[in-house]
Amino acid sequence: MPPRFDAPPLDCASHPPVDLVIRGARLLDPRAGLDGVADIVIRGGEIAEITEGANAPDGAEVVDAGDLTAVPAFVDPHVHLRTPGREDEEDIDSGTRAAAAGGFCAILAQPNTDPVVDNASILAALRERARREARIPTGFMAAVTVGQDGEALTEMAELADLGAAGFTDDGRPVARAGILRQALQYQKLAGRLIALHEEDPSLSGHGVMHEGAVAALLGMAGIPSISESTMIARDAQIALYEDAAIHIQHLSARESVEAIERAKDAGVAITCEASPHHLCLTDEAVRSLDAGFKMNPPLRSADDRQALVDGLRSGAIDCVATDHAPHAREEKEQPFEVAPMGVTGLETSFAALHTDLVEPGVLDLGTVVERMTAGGAPFGLPVPTLAAGQPANVTLLDLAATWQVGEPGYESRSANCAFDGRRMTGRVRMTIAAGAVAYRERSWAIGAVPA
């Protein structure tokens, strides 16, 4: 499908574009039909050639990548940078460093900050900060409604002109169908994708976890799957009626995957994402009553998880998005019902999917790479690819490296990672984003050999 929207601008601190050769890595880019050992020559931040036995340009750094895998770098359309308002939890610098450490070359920041990004001056200020502080290209989404209150639309056309990458009220649903319809109508003018957090408040109520056997045992209010799937079905119909494009965020349930499939079959311009934690974990993790496993939407049953994995494999789910949601340690160290919802995920996204899905043979590595690079496409961003003439967006992976999550610390300011303490296989060694080296994994970097 041709992209519906023009590419929104992304902002980044300027870094010198590199001359660099990645020697001897296995290159994997299913979209480009690439799977084999070759060298990548990067000149002036652009991929100059992909060939075996390449000549290194003068002064170029040569990265000996003999036992590594090079893939197009990842894109995450769903990251919470907590800026402005909670820079203690994360800021543009720490958040983009975390993204780079996770192999990402671009992210889209969510607007549910304090204050909410619902007007031109906040958006402009953020973009200005990103031009100074962001390690990798960063886009900023703006709210659909003022204050994310679900009542009045924001000035979407102006915000789009000023560079909003898309619109979302993420954190909350656009509960009233009438408001959503108006926003979708307005999309014809504003020209940006609307991403939706799907939840019916009258069904989710005071729920804090998946409504199922574990919630029954723990005596905690549950959020039923139908809270999510009924809203998806509703919004898909409205989008079809208005010929609008919508992107469904953080899918969590089998019923939701089915609603997406029906909508796609019916011709709705609908895309969707799923997070590593929903693809790897279930509500069994919540038995511990550890608020580190509390997020919205919640971790659901093994059957729901299976549906998400199948959906990712088939492409019903278009991309992986982490919904990286930093929280201060003392806020997560509270009783489950009281603690805030959300987990970080940028630094563990690839490793978790590799360890829990690729290694056991549930998903192909190629599929995971495709889905992790596809996050920007619905928004109009180009998909990173390994091909001559393309800007250099490359992630070097060590698929054999084992490590313990949290043991080397985190780039993120916050440590509320759902995989904290787990042993994983698969590590990002280096990330090249928009032609500049954004990240080198410390212990491995000592081995790099300059020409």
Partner: protein, 317 residues
């Protein structure tokens, strides 16, 4: 020796049997002129109650005192907790008293488990949100055990607002562990989805309740009307109230208290000889003494270097 009592799931059947026998010993102590034993002398028990409760908190207080322990009671109203001190900070502050045990009641599930992370004292869950209330279940088991001997094959019905009841959860776990068959019964809006996974049957009407040996009624709170769970108390009473007609001749009646007369129980059954409600309250102190003894005996610091040997071993058994 077990360290904490957070959930009934922490206890095996053998553990429960042992606690029942201990409680019976303490019942003998409670029958004496001097109702105290010096067992926990010099050790400190902290009662940390974030929810108002006269019944449970005074029961734990008396249990600790009858074991000669020093008791510190912290109620959230009027304390630094009200001023926003976090649960963690409160526990760390109270740790300065070097408590042997912390008894915690909280409106939030998992609070007891969290407290156990922050203290080396034994932690006893006196009710965490709607999750569990293990000592209530244990005293209910004890009350029936004293009355009937064994609970194997006992047919127990728990009737009422199961969704919001930590007593129901702990009782289902405890009674099934002791060999009873448990059925929960209430309005469909007040029984959680997949509740059978806990090991009980689910029923939405009292039609078959005549088969039960024991009817255990839960408190029906008026606030549930606000949540639209039940259209009216009248409708609830019509379908689920246990009255003289519904309480069969050989059936025993239990309730965790306090009773809403006229709602879940009719007055005539509350005062009938089939009701074990007063016995349940009496059981509370000795069962809590047994739990304190079970967790704290053998859990203290190792004996000093010039240790005294134990009293003469009692034979080779």
């Amino acid at each position: 020796m077990r360290k904490n009592l957070i959930s009934i799931d922490d206890l095996t059947r053998a553990d429960i049997d042992r606690i029942l026998a201990l409680a019976a010993s303490f019942a003998e102590v409670s029958g004496r002129e001097i109702k105290k034993v010096p067992t926990l002398r010099g050790r400190t028990v902290i009662n940390l109650f974030y929810e108002a409760s006269t019944r449970t908190s005074s029961s734990f207080e008396l249990a600790a005192k009858r074991l000669s322990a020093d008791l510190v009671s912290v109620k959230s109203v009027g304390s630094s907790v009200d001023k926003g001190e976090s649960l963690k900070d409160t526990v760390l502050t109270l740790s300065a008293y070097d408590p042997a045990a912390v008894v915690i009641r909280s409106p939030h599930a998992g609070a007891a488990g969290l407290v156990a992370r922050w203290t080396t004292a034994s932690v006893i869950n006196a009710g965490d949100g709607k999750h569990e209330h293990p000592t209530q279940a244990l005293l209910d088991v004890y009350t029936l055990w004293r009355r009937l001997g064994t609970l194997d094959g006992l047919n127990l019905w728990i009737v009422g607002d199961v969704l919001h009841s930590r007593v129901a959860r702990s009782c289902v776990l405890a009674f099934t562990r002791m060999g009873a068959e448990v059925t929960v019964c209430g309005p469909p809006t007040l029984i959680p989805r997949e509740f059978e996974q806990l090991g009980c049957r689910v029923a939405y009407s009292l039609d078959d309740a005549g088969e039960a040996d024991v009817l255990y009624a839960l408190r029906m709170q008026r606030e549930r009307m606000a949540g639209a769970y039940v259209p009216s108390l009248r409708e609830y009473a019509a379908n689920y109230q246990i009255d003289g007609r519904r309480l069969g001749a050989g059936q025993l009646l239990m309730h965790p208290g306090p009773v809403n007369r006229g709602v879940e129980l009719a007055s005539e059954v509350i005062d009938s000889p089939q009701a074990l409600i007063t016995q349940q309250v009496e059981s509370g102190v000795v069962v809590r003494m047994a739990v304190l003894y079970e967790l704290l005996a053998g859990s203290g610091a190792p004996a000093p270097a010039d240790a005294e040997p134990a009293p003469a071993p009692i034979g080779a058994a």
